[in-house]
Symmetry: C2
Subunit: 288 residues, 2 copies
Amino acid sequence: MRDFSQDHRWLSINTATVRAQWKLDAIIDECARRGITAISPWRDQVAAVGLDRIAAQVRSTGMKLSGYCRGGMFPASTPEGRRLALDDNRRAVDEAKTLDAACLVLVVGGLPGALQGKAEHKDIAAARNDVRDGIAATLEYARQVGMPLAIEPLHPMYAGDRACVNTMEQALDLCDQLDPQRSGALGVAVDVYHVWWDPKLEEQIRRAGRERLLAFHVCDWLLPTRDLLNDRGMMGDGVIDIPRIRGWVEQAGFAGYSEVEIFSSETWWKRDGGEVLDTCIARHRSAV
Amino acid sequence: MRDFSQDHRWLSINTATVRAQWKLDAIIDECARRGITAISPWRDQVAAVGLDRIAAQVRSTGMKLSGYCRGGMFPASTPEGRRLALDDNRRAVDEAKTLDAACLVLVVGGLPGALQGKAEHKDIAAARNDVRDGIAATLEYARQVGMPLAIEPLHPMYAGDRACVNTMEQALDLCDQLDPQRSGALGVAVDVYHVWWDPKLEEQIRRAGRERLLAFHVCDWLLPTRDLLNDRGMMGDGVIDIPRIRGWVEQAGFAGYSEVEIFSSETWWKRDGGEVLDTCIARHRSAV
């Protein structure tokens, strides 16, 4: 297992972590100033500044992208809805390619319409079929341009509205079905927040192996958790044994960045952005 | 699949559903007045009135107990803590027996100390070992007195503080380990709120079979869910396909009560208790 205590060369900042404080161009500069060498930006943050400008800034600063957030949201209740989702995923692949991201992260979607306020049906099995078909179609294009897709299993508390892929086992079953040759074109993003509770986690990380482990995200599970979406903790402030999980991931062959992704409306989004980044660096060394 | 639309003979009320409105003796009377023939009470509600008085009332009204809530909370960081938990579970078994409950429901516990405000360690595997040992010891006693134990897998969002058994598969693995003969002494309580998201749910319900399916709980998953603990919905108000899951459970051999268990600090606990019970009856017929 790599020693993170001496430096932060393997730290990546998911830019949602400081989305409340700065626009993306400022985030990149603030990261670069601190010797942070990788980020994972969100599409809306890129769009707010402009793809070309961000691409130029990424090149000029030498910043790496541990991932690009995000594709997915495949389920729909009409053929037209499914087609629109595929178009949008194709654009996400192109953007990821323009930015030379290591992978496009897929938050696959839940029941159609649920995130917009009203689920159009309750058939989660049907939503899962939409997800399988949507990934299959997107993968065909992503292979051509050489952009790996990372399915992110989300915590089961998001099954209804954000992602109906909720365990590593389920995500890896999809990988086996759609990329049986383990080509590297399809894998998973392991976020400790979503999977730490899973009694099969160690076994499924081993099953994933190097070819399928495309990203590793960290934050912490707070007790109590006061909000389902925006109450993630800084590493070390919660109950996840992060080093143990990182050990499993590295044992299985993962050697990439450890990406900090914290949504925190009441704590970290209210702090000074520089303080947040400095804390990420310190905790990366001491608690990851 | 049984037809629930014509009457409510298979309705049970988990008495937490109206805990804010009435004490347990009043709840029993209000249920009996409405032709509700089964309840599942909590230990603190029983204690507040007195075990003997409740036992007498249960007998005089002919009320059945679809379960008794709850045993469990096994993990501890000291041998003394584990011993105290076993003593408490033995008392819970005795109370369940006094009330002639169909089973004692086990909410197995999470990281020791977490529910009291501070987790004493982050080793969820160790907590799971405590749970296995605690169930094994409690089962030995429960077999002697003839009280079935129902492990309730809780939603993964409670893994840290309430229950580190979080899927049907994990609960059934414990059953296989501790009661390989499928004697009926150990099984599971299937609560749709906790398990509806699970891609392996249908398969694991089939695996459980009649001998292991000891209780069936219903409520609904609201979108959005505003609180991790106390924002459960009335059946029909959320996104769980309850009839589908009931179909699987009955197909596997379950023929007991459908128990309504709703924790709802901002909605149902603020309504008139009679209105809540009447709504449970109506929704039992239309949405379960």
